[in-house]
């Protein structure tokens, strides 16, 4: 187990370097970032040259990358174009997005798995068909439609929530956005759990457990659910990274100043430092989430052992 973890951690290094290099090159290919800073008016050449020097853009790209990575190991993520250190942007936006992700994952787990178990056990019954239809609707309607619709109904028409989340973004304001963000994944979790439960329901160990006279509740949670969760955990694990980086649409609709919003700003303003910094952290989150998922396998199914 220990050796497995170390091997996995070592594997992260090339993935990390490759991913950051790719992003760095991609942002650089997009063109001269200084040109956008001066608005519809051209920067005067002397100021532009001075700004390039300040942001280190006058050096060749490979040198910029090496300097950037060097700084990264000292915890220096550079400065965004508005003069704020990127670490400051991160400190203000990551907590918000983490809260949003927690809310979304919470809904995925609670609603998604319960619905999945329910429908999996009653396959073919009206409940099953209804939930299947509902998840189909949720999957096929784009997030921004759900988001805008809920915002309009709950926020403007009925006045149950505030349509825009305040800068502090406490948990209670994030419930509706979190639900919107989770909706598509939630539907997938339901369907994955349903299939998995329905398959395992006929497994020998479930029959044995029932035959032993265990209470139905214990059979389901202890034996059936635990074994059926592996594909679901894989999905949710991968989803953590996707939710954190891909919340742009939801964050825009509900005025959440999180990672998605900062990334969007960084891309529009072509701020290399912001984009690469945020993506670097997201890559790390993704890698760690994947590792945790792999380790969870062994907990869920003791037959899986790591050499």
């Amino acid at each position: 187990m220990g050796r497995y973890v170390i091997r996995r951690l070592l594997q992260m290094i090339p993935v990390f370097i490759g991913a950051t290099l790719l992003i760095f090159l991609m942002v650089n290919v997009m063109g001269d970032p200084i040109a956008g800073l001066c608005g519809d008016r051209a920067c005067d050449p002397a100021t532009a040259a001075q700004l390039e020097k300040e942001f280190g853009l006058d050096k060749p790209v490979w040198q910029q990358y090496l300097i950037y990575m060097g700084n990264l190991f000292t915890g220096d993520f550079g400065t965004a174009f508005n003069g704020q250190p990127v670490t400051e942007l991160m400190a203000s936006s990551f907590p918000v997005t983490i809260r949003l992700t927690i809310v979304a994952i919470f809904f995925e787990i609670v609603i998604g798995i319960s619905l999945g178990v329910m429908t999996g056990l009653k396959r073919g019954r009206p409940v099953d068909t209804t939930v299947l239809l509902l998840t189909l609707v949720v999957i096929s309607v784009p997030t921004f439609v759900t988001g805008l619709l809920l915002q309009l109904l709950l926020g403007v028409e009925w006045g149950w929530i505030k349509p825009a989340v305040s800068p502090e973004a406490p948990f209670n304001e994030l419930i509706v956005p979190g639900l919107v963000l989770a909706s598509v994944s939630l539907a997938y979790v339901t369907r994955l759990t349903r299939t998995s439960i329905a398959e395992n329901k006929r497994a020998d160990y479930v029959r044995t457990a029932t035959a032993k006279g265990l209470p139905r509740r214990r059979v389901i949670t202890r034996h059936l659910l635990r074994n059926s969760l592996i594909p679901v955990v894989t999905f949710i694990g991968a989803d953590i990274g996707a939710l954190m980086g891909g919340a742009i649409v939801t964050e825009r609709i509900f005025n959440i100043h999180g990672v998605g919003y900062q990334l969007y700003q960084g891309i529009v303003r072509q701020s290399t430092q912001t984009v690469v910094g945020f993506v670097t952290v997201l890559v790390l989150v993704f890698l760690v989430a994947n590792l945790v998922v792999d380790l969870l396998y062994a907990v869920l199914d003791p037959r899986i052992r790591y050499a």
Binding site: G31, D32, D40, D44, T47, G83, S92, V156, T221, Y261
Partner: protein
Amino acid sequence: MRGATHAKWAALAAAVALVATACGGGGDSGGGSGADGIVSSSWGDPQNPLEPSNTNEVQGGKVLSMIFRGLKQYDPKTGEATNMLAESIETTDSTNFTITLKDGWTFSNGEAVTAKSFVDAWNYGASLKNNQKNAFFFGQIEGYDQVHPEEGEPTAQTMSGLKVVDDKTFTVKLTQKFSTWPDTLGYVAFAPLPQSFFDDHAAWLDKPVGNGPYTVASYSKGSQMELKRWDGYPGADKAQNGGVTLKVYTDNNTAYTDLTAGNLDLVDDVPASQLKNVEADLGDRYINVPAGIIQTLGFPFYDPAWNKPGQEKLRQGLSMAINREQITDTIFQKTRTPAVDWTSPVLGEEGGFKDICGDFCKYNAEEAKKLVAEGGGIPGGTMTITYNADTGSHKEWVDAVCNSINNALGNNRACAGNPIGTFADFRSQVSTQKMKGPFRAGWQMDYPLIQNFLQPLYYTNASSNDGKYSDPEFDKLVDQANAESDIAKAVGTFQSAEEVLRDDMGAIPLWYQNGSAGYSERVSNVMLNPFSVPVYDQIKVG
């Protein structure tokens, strides 16, 4: 696992409780009413650090317009420049100016506003070392070349053209005659700065201190700024409300939704998608007035294919092939006004706004076809209009303009849009002369002067002359106008220069942009100034 199940239920119960408490919220925007009421307004994250000479976009400009007052102030209705801090600005030769300050002005930290506050601020703004994006505003002052050389290191710390005479007086020497120069001094780059700006720059940026009707109470970057009325403000335009809270919105659609839900008082940028509903939603609480912004199509005069003799007919023909009325009506829902010259209606007739473009700006398919043919046709048979696709929904109107041209010329391949991914990339391609055909150009005035609409854009090698248009006759007339000490005559000469521009069709004027805003029932007396920025200090609450 059993324990985990309990935890799940507890969490669910907690969530339900949270939903319940969230329901109780809502409707507590701002606070108080009457003279102490707080106005909440939408805001966008400023692109640059908030310094007067470094702020070149609207969002940062809003804040500076609240916390700073300069030598002159532009009237929110007429755009006329009137003295604010200046007691007098005197000159005999349009080159040497003596500026005297009024008594009794201080910064909100108590420091007096002196001649030195201006001279230091201007020297700071001009210096190459400080990377100020508005540095070129000081370009007319003598000695600018030494503190801001085009290449190499600065050879001086301060501009030789600026001299402090005493606490209340300083003199300015320009490198050439510029009669309307005093009227440019309302621009925010010319604001005075307190000593604390130079002593602790980082602290000042975290909480800017100025001399305007408001002070910054708190500023959390990227999300919100609270401004409070400054009771010690000596000016006549004291704030009519207790303060303004600027809230950063990720999307102007969300801000608009928040306004209709009653959580926000003022939105100064009604999103294009809501223009159809805005009358029904807000009634007379919707403002739609012309601003000092003009949109044009620029041409790449550096490309030999677009710079042949006789091609002015081609450009004029293209201009006549664009159905401005139809596009502003259908695509912009009348938030744009078809252009008839290269300036803006906010200048007024006295300021130089006049129908100079004439028939060339009116849709006439037949004449357009004839002129394009006489002008040698479109180079290569097809042309593209380049624009940036990331902001401002330019795609719709570019496609409409191309359709209009194609229809008028009876050729479906005459014109097509050419989107570029980001604004930064678009700007870098435009400013490095990579355009292969016409491109989107926009100009927001810095100060309401006809000079500002012509010289920076079309004078040979001027700072924003992206198409590299050049005409000796135009340059000569602009120089003459600048030297003219009689303002009315100067405006007339500028108009003659504009006629040269028309005969060359140096750029196709498309339309003037309006400022649009909506406000809640809580506030009244809301208006937009000629820069399409709300006049915050005049807003009344309750």
